[in-house]
């Protein structure tokens, strides 16, 4: 089974709206714009799509099909892992294709991440919301009454433990924030293009939930992205060089639906997903040329780098130092600016960027990029990994 799945599908189309704070567009328009762009980018038509993985909330696969004009949906599924959903969706798409259930699968993400809480006075009203999935009950019953309502606050429960256990310095988090902001200066769609970040800016910013300062937190945006996945055979007949899905995995902490009773607060879903993904792709961490790491928060990037094997536990600060993760460094990280500085599209923007890097068409292109690694991270610590490569 495994040999029929990994390396037999490819990303052939990408779509991406602008990343804005306060869109005039309805959230459904954002999702459909990105979806149609991805289909067109692949050189396909909506009638060629017969598999759909919709966002976690906002729009159903049925609605998306009807609005795009997809006549025959042979397979759909919703993936509910918060920010780990889009990257995990790639493995679901690949399974559907390798199993013969669908030919061309559309994976969509989009939301009104900024406007949901702060709509413009003249914005078109919407009742569309994200599907909180498994974490909703825990947050409503066990966290919110204690004053912990936002992801920054929930994650700070284990990030505090991480910082205290290993003595993680703010220098490391600042290096991640500044690398992402530097890369955003080169990305044509990044929300924070034109707004550089200095270490003095970082240090002067207030805490949100310790250890997270303002610039450790990603930027809430209104945006949408989409990708089209197909078989490697069909991909070779399409317009762009195929970007091969070499391997991927998901993982969940135990228990996944709450944080407090995990035997090790610092063992998250990504710790389980990472070894599976590398084994399936048949590559090692140091083979990777570009890292697109889910960066809801800087410290979460550090934890993931350790889980992926780029450093020992507590060792990420040395890995992110000295320009190693900057464009031109050994492991350029979040070359589009990431959630921290391009915008927050639940990590499907990371998949879009990895695809462009491997096509050789990224705004901040890594020279001769052949292998890219993408992570997703969501809910209360679920993780997903996708390893993508140039067709050889």
């Amino acid at each position: 089974m495994g040999t029929d799945l990994w390396g037999t599908t490819a990303i052939v189309g990408v779509g991406e709206t602008d990343y804005v704070r306060g869109s005039d567009r309805h959230v459904c328009d954002l999702i459909l714009d990105a979806a149609m762009e991805a289909i067109t980018d692949a050189g396909l038509k909506p009638a060629d799509i017969n598999g759909i993985i919709p966002p976690p909330g906002y729009m159903s696969a049925e609605e998306i099909a009807a609005h795009l004009g997809v006549p025959d949906v042979a397979y759909h599924v919703s993936v509910l892992m918060g920010g780990a959903s889009p990257t995990a969706s790639l493995q679901t798409a690949a399974m559907a294709i390798a199993g013969g259930l669908a030919d061309n699968v559309l994976v969509c993400m989009g939301w009104n991440g900024y406007s949901a809480l702060r709509p413009k006075p003249d914005a078109r009203p919407t009742k569309r919301v994200m599907n909180l999935g498994p974490m909703g009950e825990t947050v409503r019953n066990h966290y919110a009454p204690y004053g912990l309502m936002s992801a920054a606050q929930h994650y700070s429960l284990y990030l505090r433990r991480y910082v205290d256990t290993f003595g993680i310095p703010e220098d490391a988090a600042a290096a991640v924030a500044i690398a992402c902001r530097n890369h955003a200066q080169l990305n044509s769609k990044a929300l924070m293009r034109g707004t550089p970040l200095s270490r003095a800016d970082y240090d002067a910013a207030p805490f949100i939930a310790e250890p997270l300062r303002k610039f450790d937190c990603c930027v809430e945006t209104d945006c949408a992205t989409a990708v089209v996945v197909t078989s490697l055979g069909r991909a070779r007949d399409l317009v762009h060089p195929a970007v091969v899905y070499l391997g991927g995995a998901e993982g969940h902490p135990e228990p996944a639906d709450e944080i407090a009773n995990r035997a090790n607060l610092l063992e998250l879903g990504i710790h389980r997903a990472a070894p599976r993904a590398f084994a399936r792709a048949g590559v090692a961490p140091h083979d990777i040329d570009v890292l697109e790491i889910y960066d809801c928060f800087t410290y979460v990037v550090l934890l993931q780098l350790e889980a992926l094997g780029y450093a020992e536990p507590g060792g990420a600060p040395a890995f992110v130092a000295d320009g190693n993760i900057e464009l031109g460094g050994r492991f350029p990280l979040n070359t589009h600016g990431g959630l921290l500085s391009q915008g927050h599209c639940w990590g499907l923007n990371h998949v879009v960027e990895a695809t462009r890097q491997l096509r050789g068409t990224a705004d901040a292109q890594v020279t001769d990029a052949e292998l890219a690694l993408v992570t997703g991270y969501g809910d209360l610590g679920d993780g997903s990994v996708a390893i993508l490569g140039r067709d050889r």
């Binding site: 009950e137 825990t138 409503r140 019953n141 066990h142 966290y143 919110a144 009454p145 204690y146 004053g147 912990l148 309502m149 936002s150 606050q153 929930h154 700070s156 429960l157 284990y158 505090r160 433990r161 205290d164 207030p206 805490f207 949100i208 939930a209 310790e210 709450e258 944080i259 407090a260 009773n261 607060l265």
Partner: protein
């Protein structure tokens, strides 16, 4: 303190009702093997029994980790920012979140705590934890209820 007070359902509601009836912190316990567990679950992960009771615990524990929030979406909590929320490991093993009156700067991982409960409604108790006066586990002496912040 929290403006938001949920009305839980199912076995989470059973837990709150047990704490309210006992006027003490209670925790779910497996009748099959005696293990304590939290939050409430249907089946024991060790012996798969679904027979449970809610029993009072010593009310002693220690700080495993904590969050310090400098802003809150909840208007009640916002007036107390910055405030700490403790992740407590009870002497009995299970862990849970607790509110605290202790200023964030005085909290340390490993610190010993004494817990108490405050009913915010007929269906919801909030758990409070503050540093224990000495390092020995203390019995859960009834203490004045009410929110010291208000």
């Amino acid at each position: 303190m929290s403006t938001y007070v949920p009305t839980p359902e199912w076995i989470v509601l059973d837990w709150h009702h047990a704490c309210i009836a006992a006027e003490l912190l209670c925790i779910q316990r497996c009748v099959g093997c005696g293990r304590w567990r939290h939050p409430p679950r249907r089946f024991c992960p060790a012996c798969q029994s679904d027979r449970t009771t809610f029993e009072p615990v010593t009310g002693s524990g220690s700080v495993l980790s904590f969050a310090v929030s400098h802003r809150s979406l909840d208007p009640g909590w916002q007036t107390h920012a910055p405030y700490a929320t403790l992740l407590v490991e009870l002497n009995e093993g299970p862990r849970l979140l607790a509110a605290t009156t202790t200023p964030p700067g005085e909290i340390r991982i490993g610190q010993r705590l004494a817990m108490r409960t405050e009913a915010l409604s007929e269906h919801f108790v909030l758990v409070w934890a503050d540093p224990a006066s000495h390092d020995e586990p203390t019995s859960m002496a009834p203490r004045a209820r009410g929110n010291p912040h208000d």
